[in-house]
Amino acid sequence: MKEFSLLRIGHFIRRDIALHKSTFVTGLLVGIVLIFLFSFFNMIWDKQLSQDEFFGTFGLIYIPMGVLFTFSIFKEFNDPKANQLYLSIPISIPERLASKWFTAAILYTLVYTILAIITGILALLFGVVVLTADFNISSLFSIEYWNVLKVYFLVQPFFLVGAISFRKNRIGKTLLFLGILALVFTLFNFLLFGIFNHNYGLFSGDAVISEAFDKTAADFSALGRWFYGLLLGPVMLIVAYFKMKEKEV
């Protein structure tokens, strides 16, 4: 018997969509309305909606909404009344994880992007008519769009682990944990910087911490990107796998 079947993953995605259809639709509608309003009001001052501005708004709604959706599709997992049925469904843990991640990351991004772009264009047309704004269509190939996606794909697995790990106040606890982790890593970076650079006198005189961090960023940016990229992305998915494997009702 195969423990990884694309067919079962497909069935599980369909199940999640059917079960969370109303959450999904409501979230997307709220997102669309907010994008429309933000995009329109953005054109009032300078009569234009730049890619930077549009994808700034896009990310502001896309990331929190995606995090909420992630928590929503994992609700069954920690609900003592629902998880007995949920965990006894014949689907393996890698399939469970793959389908949840695909729904909350890939599928959500696809649907949200398409709707956001359409809404952005409508807002732009509205701005052209009402505010005589400039007409320029946002492109998916812009660096701003991919940066927003990058942030979401790195942060989402962390929230996925939070959604699996905590039974109550899941969002609050995950945010608290993320805050503590950020603080620990800031301190860790600062210590590393101090260890590697104290001989150069970077802490003496007028050298400020932000300047020190700028220099560290220049020196260790590639290493740091890999470290945090791996830590927040794939490593969190591995943590999620083991959390799911060890889960009892």
């Binding site: 079962r8 079960l19 629902a82 007995q84």
Partner: protein
């Protein structure tokens, strides 16, 4: 089919709920799993489904560890929990999204049972009463046609006509390839349905016997004054009903409630008599 060997279980920071449990569940039987409240019946069913992990020992379904929750094991098992929440979708949608995971699922059987339970496929599950939700889940569990069907207090929340309907349905689905385990503390609800009794007491298996062996070895009823044998267990509150060694008496129907109380009161005596009867039969 499902074997439990030397199983121990306790919840964090609490006493053992199950101690040295050895059980064997085979196809073609309907097991009644009895025990007082908090004796570990639900826990045992959850361990059998792989939802809880034993502290020691094994729970194997056709040789596969249940704690691994492998697809090949979960394909053969369905649990109807005592307390559950179903999604807020129609019965038809529930069947569509959930049935695809069970290769032997029978749509016809499911909708027949839904009809029998006087429900409609268009009913939205969240708007149904708890008893009706239970009927949906029982119907679904039966229709999965898994080799092992576990039911935890299935009659809780069912009204009196539904309880007899449940018994009728369960009797109709029993076959030699299927093993059904029904856990309850309401022993009367399983009257004339089960063919094997298991009783948990003090975190251990106090009794594990097929009903035909019970009726071979024990006699249930009101003893007459000229009965030579001493009652193993008697109850004044039930009009003087008692359990006696059967010896040469006529076979009686097993009174599950009396047997349950008798096992809790005098487990050693009852087990000794049944073991003796079995030994005599072998000789």
């Amino acid at each position: 089919m499902l074997t439990i060997k030397h199983l121990n279980f306790n919840y964090p920071k609490s006493r053992f709920v199950l101690k040295s449990i050895n059980l064997d569940f085979t196809a073609g039987n309907i097991y009644g799993l009895f025990g007082k409240n908090g004796e570990g019946k639900s826990t045992l069913l959850k361990i059998m489904t792989g939802l809880l992990f034993p502290k020691n020992g094994n729970c194997l379904l056709e040789g596969n560890e249940m704690r691994k929750r492998e697809v090949q094991s979960l394909h053969h098992i369905f649990l109807v929990p005592e307390d559950f929440e179903l999604p807020a979708i129609s019965i038809r949608s529930f069947e569509k999204v959930q049935s695809c995971f069970y290769p032997q699922f029978s749509k016809e059987q499911f909708y027949e049972l839904i009809k029998e339970f006087q429900l409609s496929p268009t009913d939205v599950i969240s708007k149904l009463s708890f008893g009706q939700k239970k009927k949906v889940l029982i119907a679904f569990g039966i229709a999965t046609n898994t080799k092992l069907l576990l039911m935890d207090e299935p009659t809780n929340g069912l009204d009196i006509p539904s309880k007899s309907q449940f018994r009728k349905v369960m009797a109709s689905i029993a076959d030699e390839n299927k093993c059904i385990v029904i856990s309850t503390h309401q022993v009367r609800d399983l009257h004339s349905l089960i063919n094997h009794v298991m009783i948990l007491d003090n975190a251990q298996v106090a009794f594990d016997q097929p009903l035909d062996k019970v009726s071979d070895g024990l006699w249930f009823g009101k003893p007459s004054t000229n009965d030579s044998s001493e009652p193993i267990y008697s109850e004044s509150s039930f009009g003087g009903k008692a359990i006696l060694p059967r010896l040469d008496k006529n076979e009686t129907e097993v009174d599950l409630e009396l047997l349950f109380n008798g096992v809790l009161g005098a487990p050693d005596k009852i087990n000794a008599i049944l073991n003796q009867t079995q030994n005599d039969e072998r000789v």
